[in-house]
Symmetry: C2
Subunit: 347 residues, 2 copies
């Protein structure tokens, strides 16, 4: 098992460290040979080499079977619209260069955290769906720039049939293994790119007769996620809509700090928590490492096809939560440190 | 007072009829001379004249001091990505031709409907903010089309400095009359158009020293609306983000069927409920007319600068709700018909 570890910014280093502990423990238990190497990204990489996704890091990822990622982003760059190099560009470069076309985010509730959900319990209890976001196309990567002495700005949203087919195929596979319902989210009443999405989906749907394909406008989806989250099974959408909807979906559970993600790629796959770099907590040993540890579980399942190993990690996480051996953000009683939770889960 | 009435599709005709009753009653009480004329739009207009926003209707709107609008949209067109003419195009043509650059949506809770909110009561109770969406720019109106034999589709998101300044100015005015906080929502970490938005906002902010300007990424805003709705006072954003966020914001109150909107324009202004054309209920006299009646109240306030007249309508609506004289969607006891609620509020 060859892993590239990209800790990134903020709390990234301390949470990836805990996930690595879990990975090591499981590798040892199952006698897997484990190789790992660190790479720099984000603000840290800008400071060191002036590039948020340096070529060296990229080569490291290409050689790896999977990438374990922390978080990037730094407040120094956020309110400076004129900054030439931003940490997020590293994330986008990584996605593009590794061909990470599908971001997979399971939305799950944890019984013990339901009282933290902003939604009424009966609406969200038992909600369980997967958001699949196209990650290498759309307005993120289309041509953009300025005209008229900088007084006009533009971005281009582009999709090709191949890009849409690739992600829909993956989405249908997920739906086939789950409750067999796929919701395709677009804005086909306004956008030409969405009309192509819908056309392709309508062509593909008959090939999956056991799966119910449903079409939903993005504005409607933004409402349904709050109103009827249990109605979703697999939701698939384009890059920009996915950015908004997956974040929205992540907070309805009350367990934002616990949700992992996988980005499936052409060259390798990347596993990371969905939360950000949380700079205020950096270095304090208080951040919740569970989302990153669960991302490592997804890595065993998706990248290595080792579901049993993944399950052991999941079970250990569940046990730490059942015991209340957790960090301050979710602790009811005594709060534990990041490193202590990592040790506990990996022991 | 010269009003154009565009009933539109689905329940549009029956709900605008109730709003007109209220307008007539108030006009009579205050001795305002009232002139009104009907125009066709939407699917109805496609069926009649092949154009969802016919020139005749446009001329009618141009002559009017305000437009009272029902709803448009028809399921016959929704799942047909290849339909050449769609009802929504009429809406977009109307926005563009009338220069309706600012869509204003107050998000308010009604005590008696809080139990219908998907959010926990303590989070949403007392939430009161205004969403301001840019309505004539962005990806809705940028160049769009197909390439490569139809296998590549694109949409262009464009904003000019003038467009951004105009809407931000309006947003600052709103914030000045309220709790003096403006949240500018964008995706400046990815989009060039958003970077221009943020640049312009950062230039304008010092001119409004008593107003706190806050910047928020759209994905974060999608979370905050659910998590801390009370933190918002005035939120302003571009067209596509506004489409998603205003719909999301509208459901947190539990009173979607009750929320009005105003679209402020260069040539005239349009007042309409935020809910859709609800085709299943069309012609059944069961749809809730309150959002449209409250839109009429906004019309008195914003288009005619007659706040007292607006308040009388609001008070009558509040009374109907206090009495429980309401339609089936919100009735606790005996449900009333659309027309009966309209009569009650206007008597
Ligand atoms: C940091 C930003 C560029 C990124 C995105 O918009 O994709 C983030 O919000 C995410 O969802 O991973
Ligand atoms: C019908 C559609 C074109 C429209 C939009 O996207 O603007 C609607 O969703 C709205 O918000 O008024």
């Amino acid at each position: 098992l060859k892993i590239a570890i990209l800790p990134g910014d903020g709390i990234g280093p301390e949470i990836t460290e805990q996930a690595l502990k879990a990975v090591k423990a499981v590798a040892k238990k199952f006698n897997h040979e484990l190789e790992y190497e660190y790479g720099v990204t984000g603000a840290a990489a800008i400071d060191q080499v002036g590039d948020p996704y340096p070529e060296e890091t990229h080569q490291l990822c290409l050689k790896a079977d999977a990438v374990l990622f922390g978080a990037i982003g730094d407040p120094r760059f956020d309110n400076n619209p004129k900054a030439k190099v931003r940490p997020e560009q590293g994330l986008l470069a990584m996605r593009k260069k590794l061909g990470l076309y599908a971001n997979i985010r399971p939305v799950e509730t944890f019984e013990s955290l339901l009282h933290k959900s902003p939604l009424r319990r009966e609406l969200v209890e038992g909600a369980n769906f997967v958001c699949i976001r196209e990650l290498t196309g759309g307005i993120y990567f289309g041509e953009k720039g300025r005209k008229d002495d900088g007084n006009t700005a533009y971005d281009t949203n582009t999709y090709t049939r191949e890009e849409i087919e690739r992600i829909l195929k993956l989405a249908y596979e997920f739906a086939g293994k789950r409750r067999k319902k796929l919701t395709v989210v677009d804005k086909a009443n306004v956008l030409e790119s969405s009309r192509l999405w819908r056309e392709v989906a309508q062509e593909m749907a008959p090939q999956f007769p056991d799966i119910q394909t449903e079409y939903m406008f993005v504005d409607n989806a933004a409402m349904q996620i709050i109103q009827w989250p249990k109605n979703f099974d697999v939701m698939v959408t384009e890059n920009m809509f996915g950015d908004i909807l997956t974040d929205e979906a992540s907070v309805i559970t009350g367990s934002l700090g616990l949700l992992p993600s996988a980005s499936i790629g052409v060259f390798t796959s990347v596993f990371e928590p969905i939360h950000g770099s949380y700079p205020q907590a950096a270095g304090k040993d208080i951040a919740n490492p569970i989302a990153t540890i669960l991302s490592a579980a997804m890595m065993f399942e998706y990248a290595f096809n080792l579901p049993e190993e993944g399950k052991i990690i999941r079970d250990a996480v569940a046990a730490s939560m059942a015991e209340g051996f957790v960090t301050e953000d979710i602790a009811e009683g005594q709060a534990q440190r990041t490193s202590a939770v990592g040790d506990w889960i990996s022991h």
